[in-house]
Amino acid sequence: MDIQEKGKGPLFTDPDPDAARAFFMKKSRNKTDKRMTLKQAVETFVQDGNYLGIGGFGANRTPVAVCHEIVRQRKKNLGFAGHTATHDMQILSAGKVFNRIDMAYGIGLEARGLSKSARQYMESGQVEVCEWTNYALSLRLQAAAMGVPFLPIRSMLGTQTFEHSGAVNVYCPFTGKKIVLVPALSPDVSFIHVHEADIYGNGLFEGIAVADIELAHASKRLILTCERLVSHRAMTRKPHRTDIPYFIVDAVCEVPFGAYPGTMPYEYFSDEVHLKDWLDAENDPEKLAVFLQKNIYGCEDFSDYIQVNGGMKRLQELRHLELLIKSEIKDK
């Protein structure tokens, strides 16, 4: 295929679907009880140097608990796909656990501002960067999910985002017009937070899917965290609601409020107060160290973290916010 232009960016993963096939062929298809504590799951499936995929979008249905556990276990030299990485990137940057990133959107927390930790870490020269767009990363995951080496995309053309990406452009054999091809992206291990899962790994979520279906299928290993476990019966009664089939899943961790302080659709809204505390803490290295000790390193697990930040009472308020219910109850 005649390459017209080629991005200078590095490829952190192998786009060859035959390599992925060799791996998936050996993956167990058995319906075994895959429940683990999050600690066990991260110890078992996240090795230093792994390339990670993180579900959700911004701070919405993001597997925050997993990011905490990775930092708590002080993993090193990780890579990851930053398709609207916000609070997750903020956490991983504070822990300095990664050294390379496929970057579409990061550092920022959307309307909330910029993360100093993430920015300074990205400017420190310790992180190798490849530029992409959000859709390009989503299609790279979809290519891997489809078992093809690339997918075509009509954006990125004519920009430096393309120049510093790992994409190529060619002339379309059907239209003669220039088109970009983005290579498949298969994370070593990915994390997706869902509403419900059974013990085998069938998973279901509510609301927007973002790129999580593509991510789930693209990933060699997949850890599901869920708000609640449900019976296999309950899942198979409505098979058209299953978003993730069990046999692509390696571990199922029941982590209630696992997306806190982000939003979980129909469950709880983001804790903007706590997210502001995060941003503020980043203004002063010592303040941040204390903050991280209190919220991550000093916590046994994620439920400790929830406790430290107001526990059930706060979550009840966030639930009311999510459901647009005024918290005040008028006196009768």
Binding site: P17, D18, A20, R21, A22, F23, F24, M25, K27, S28, R29, N30, K31, A145, M146, G147, V148, Y200, N202, H217, M235, T236, R237, P239, H240, T242, P245, Y246, F247, I248
Partner: protein
């Protein structure tokens, strides 16, 4: 002495070939019966998936269509054709059963037409998902009656890839690695494909048949395993489960 017909023999032989804990992509009819029988005998953890999107159903009876409601009854997932095909393309699907009007010595299949493309004597349904399944799935299985009309030297149309013109040619073709024809099960024998050449080879003959019977009913030269064995006969248990649980209405085994 046990009485059974050749269709029952073929289904039971196929069921035994399906490794426990693997995933099989099936259509309707005999292949589905074989998979359902395997789940009830040697391979309780066999996972069935269907082209149209049914994934891991608990089949209450044999489906009439690859897309009817039985194919996702109490299933892990009711997905889409792309869900199933993507799983196949990624190497998740270990077996598939395919058939056709013609098969050649490399396991290539014709389900498109009889005669010439320009002016076919008979137009057949076409590839459907067969070409995709054969390209993607690890082990392609074929169940078919043994006769010269079906086992031909040259296909009228190469619809679905076997080993193409031999193992190397399939490798060079760009088709996914770790995939290709695995076994051909007929009313007379079980055949596999020789390691290097990818040519069809008789490995076992069914009770009452010899290699020469098989060769006599095949339009091309067959290879023969150094140790040709007898295909084990169905057990009472296999026959009972097949007849009582899998196909009580004898839709398939009654043919």
């Amino acid at each position: 002495m046990t009485v059974y017909n050749s269709m029952e023999m073929m289904i039971i032989t196929a069921a035994r070939a399906l490794e426990n804990g693997s995933i099989v992509g099936v259509g309707t009819g005999a292949p589905c019966a074989a998979a359902m029988l395997a789940q009830r005998t040697s391979s309780p953890d066999l996972i069935i998936i269907f082209e149209a999107g049914g994934i891991d159903p608990d089949l209450p009876e044999m489906p009439i269509s690859v897309g009817d409601s039985r194919t996702f009854c109490n299933a892990s997932m009711a997905g889409s054709m792309n869900t199933t095909m993507s799983l196949c393309a990624r190497g998740f699907v270990d077996y598939t059963f395919l058939g056709g009007a013609q098969i050649d010595k490399y396991g290539n299949l014709n389900s498109t037409l009889i005669g010439a493309w320009e002016d076919p004597k008979v137009r057949l349904p076409g590839s459907g998902g067969a070409n995709d399944f054969a390209s993607f799935c690890r082990k392609m299985m074929v169940m078919t009656p043994q006769n010269k009309k079906r086992f031909v030297e040259k296909l009228d149309f190469l619809t679905t890839p076997g080993w193409l013109a031999g193992k190397d040619s399939r490798k060079k073709s760009g088709l996914p690695e770790h995939a290709g024809p695995h076994q051909v099960i007929t009313d007379m024998s079980v055949m596999d494909f020789e390691q290097d050449s990818g040519r069809m080879r008789v490995v076992s003959v069914n009770p009452g048949y010899s290699f020469s019977d098989v060769q006599a009913n095949c339009g091309f030269e067959l290879l023969c395993a150094t140790e040709l064995v007898k295909t084990p006969e169905p057990t009472e248990k296999e026959l009972r489960i097949l007849r009582e649980q899998v196909d009580p209405q004898r839709i398939v085994i009654g043919r």
